[in-house]
Amino acid sequence: MTDLAPLSPFDASPAAVGRIVRREPVDWTGIAFLTGLAVVVLLPLIVTAVWAFAEIWRFPAIVPQRMGLGYWQDTLSRNDVWQALWLSLSLTTTVTVISAAICFPAAYAFARLDFPGRNLLFLAFLSVQAFPKFGLIVATATIFLTLHLVGTFWGVVLIQLVGTLLYMIWIPVSAFQGVDRRLEEAARDVGAGPMRVFWFITLPQALPTLFAALLITFVSTFYETDAAWLIGLPNVRTMPMVMISFINNALEVQYGAVLFVFLWVPSFVLMLAARRVMGADAFAKGLGG
């Protein structure tokens, strides 16, 4: 294309015209929104975090009268805290891994394969999730009692597994459905068989969203209490249950606050790392479909 565009006098001497540099407009709505959000979300967090380091903090004072690490020492020197942490971590990891092993292939099948009764099955699955959780847990507890699963590690794994199914199927289904079929066809076209297409194209395309599902499952299972309480006690004491008993037994805010900070830091770091890995839109994609 060698069209000769006539030179306008302005183009001819850009320096002479003088350039007007515009600054990006200030986004006041965004700032207001952010401030509001900070007050609602961050304030309680900050107050709780401060509590964790307060040794004496009585009513009228705005800042604690005495700060220190006393409660940290008390909390972290307790054996049951470390035991519960270890238990919770292994429980959560087990549940997440098993759930992924079951749900991801199922999600792929729902998303990609066309088998008879597919829609009915998916609907049935979703409707199960619509039942009130607590009733389901109580019912399961009765059955588990006869199976001697109550109070055992695997009993809790089983019941918590049920709780993860919703996110672990729903989000991955939309992740796999979100992968454009033409991407897969293009890979077939240049010589990849079905397995390699899945491995090199479908999976990497869906991965950020799958990772989001894993993360949500991990965090929500870690803090799950209803099922862990009904099925797990008295032998299986998970971290949140230790927290609850702290709050119930010693009427001191600090124990709870210490655990709160103690557990919040790692999951926050995990979230940040996740955002780095997969970009902010993966969460939205997973949840929005």
């Binding site: 294309m1 991407l183 010589g191």
Partner: protein
């Protein structure tokens, strides 16, 4: 590099017949355009050649080898998709190299071939970018490079440039034509732009409702359409309904010599009509005049209100509402179940007299 032979290809989706009884031989090194309106089965045919759809009936052979049952990865075809379908998690280099990596070629050779093909499509130096960092035209070129790098015998293109602006589209399609001829690849190009088809193809296949209407060289299809559909679809055309009687066709008040009897369709190209003095039975009212610079198009109304387009000399000026006389220089008459009949005023005049000038 390869010949494609389609025999009796048909495809149904449930109750919809997308393709019906297709017989077509595409020769070695030929570029064939599939042209037709939306839903006519162009993509379906292309996807059947590529192995993405299984034909309900019929067979496909490439170089005499039956490939009907082979999956896409085992066919010597490569497809460029309308939506480019680049893999967003790989760089440009990764996209192009993928097919070669699958073939376990040595690293140095892969790098070499990818660089060469990126150079071919005018994208050398873009290897490290992600597809999202390219413009639409560049993305389509990467898709083209990805298909070319595996050295397919047959290149399939499904409206590859439909989403681009006209200038870029024209340039890229000329580049495709160039590359295809240089490499001697057989190519099937789907388009619903007739200009595109006329501009680049060796032969055009016109499809409508899943059936082949006509196969032929671009000029042939333009000058000698076999059916009324092809006549109306390729190039601008005035199509009028009329009746044949007494060696004449009467359509919207227009009277022209033609043999036969009964209902018929009269087809006249806009450039085959010229202006004369107004005369009984051959006048038109000007609705508007469009000045394209190189030529002028006059849109007018015949006696019964039917539209008629005339393409004429750029020097001509008419105004709205003016009565002008028209002279039809050549026309075609289509009757059901019969070969079309073509007439020219100069040959007709020789045996009918000057009455039909």
């Amino acid at each position: 590099m390869a010949q494609v032979r389609l025999s009796g290809i048909a495809k149904t989706f449930g109750k919809v017949t997308a393709l019906d009884a297709m017989d077509l031989v595409i020769d070695d090194g030929e570029l064939v355009c599939l042209l037709g309106p939306s839903g006519s089965g162009k993509s379906t045919l292309l996807r059947i050649i590529g192995g993405f759809e299984m034909p309900s009936e019929g067979t496909i052979a490439i170089d005499g080898v039956d490939v009907t049952d082979l999956p896409p990865e085992q066919r010597p075809t490569a497809m460029v998709f309308q939506s480019h379908a680049l893999w967003s998690h790989m760089t440009v280099f990764g996209n192009v190299a993928f097919g070669l990596k699958l073939r376990h070629l040595p690293k140095a050779e892969i790098r070499d071939r990818v660089e060469r093909v990126l150079d071919l499509v005018g994208l050398s130096g873009y290897g490290a970018r992600l597809p999202s960092q390219l413009s639409g035209g560049q993305q389509q070129r990467v898709a083209l490079a990805r298909s070319l790098v595996i050295e397919p015998k047959i290149l399939l293109l499904d409206e590859p440039f439909a989403s681009l602006d006209q200038h870029l589209r024209e340039r890229l399609r000329d580049e495709v034509r160039d590359i295809q001829q240089r490499l001697g690849i057989t190519a099937v190009f789907v388009t619903h732009g007739q200009d595109e088809a006329l501009a680049i193809s060796d032969r055009i296949v016109v499809l409508a409702d899943g059936r082949m209407q006509q196969v032929g060289r671009p000029g042939e299809i333009y000058a000698e359409p076999k059916t009324a559909f092809v006549a109306g679809f390729i190039g601008a055309m005035n199509m009028l309904d009329g009746t044949l009687a007494d060696g004449e066709i009467l359509a919207s008040g227009l009277r022209l010599p033609a043999e036969g009897s009964g209902l018929a369709r009269l087809a006249i190209r806009p450039e085959d009509i010229s202006l004369t003095e107004p005369e009984e039975g051959r006048t038109m009212t000007v609705r508007r005049m469009i000045d394209f610079g190189a030529h002028v198009v006059i849109d007018g109304k015949l006696a019964d209100g039917t539209h008629l387009r005339i393409q004429t000399d750029k020097a001509i000026r008419v105004s709205q509402g003016e009565q002008i006389g028209i002279c039809v220089e050549s026309w075609t008459v289509f009757t059901d179940g019969d070969e079309p009949r073509r007439y020219r005023s100069d040959t007709v005049r020789s045996f009918r007299g000057a009455r039909y000038a």
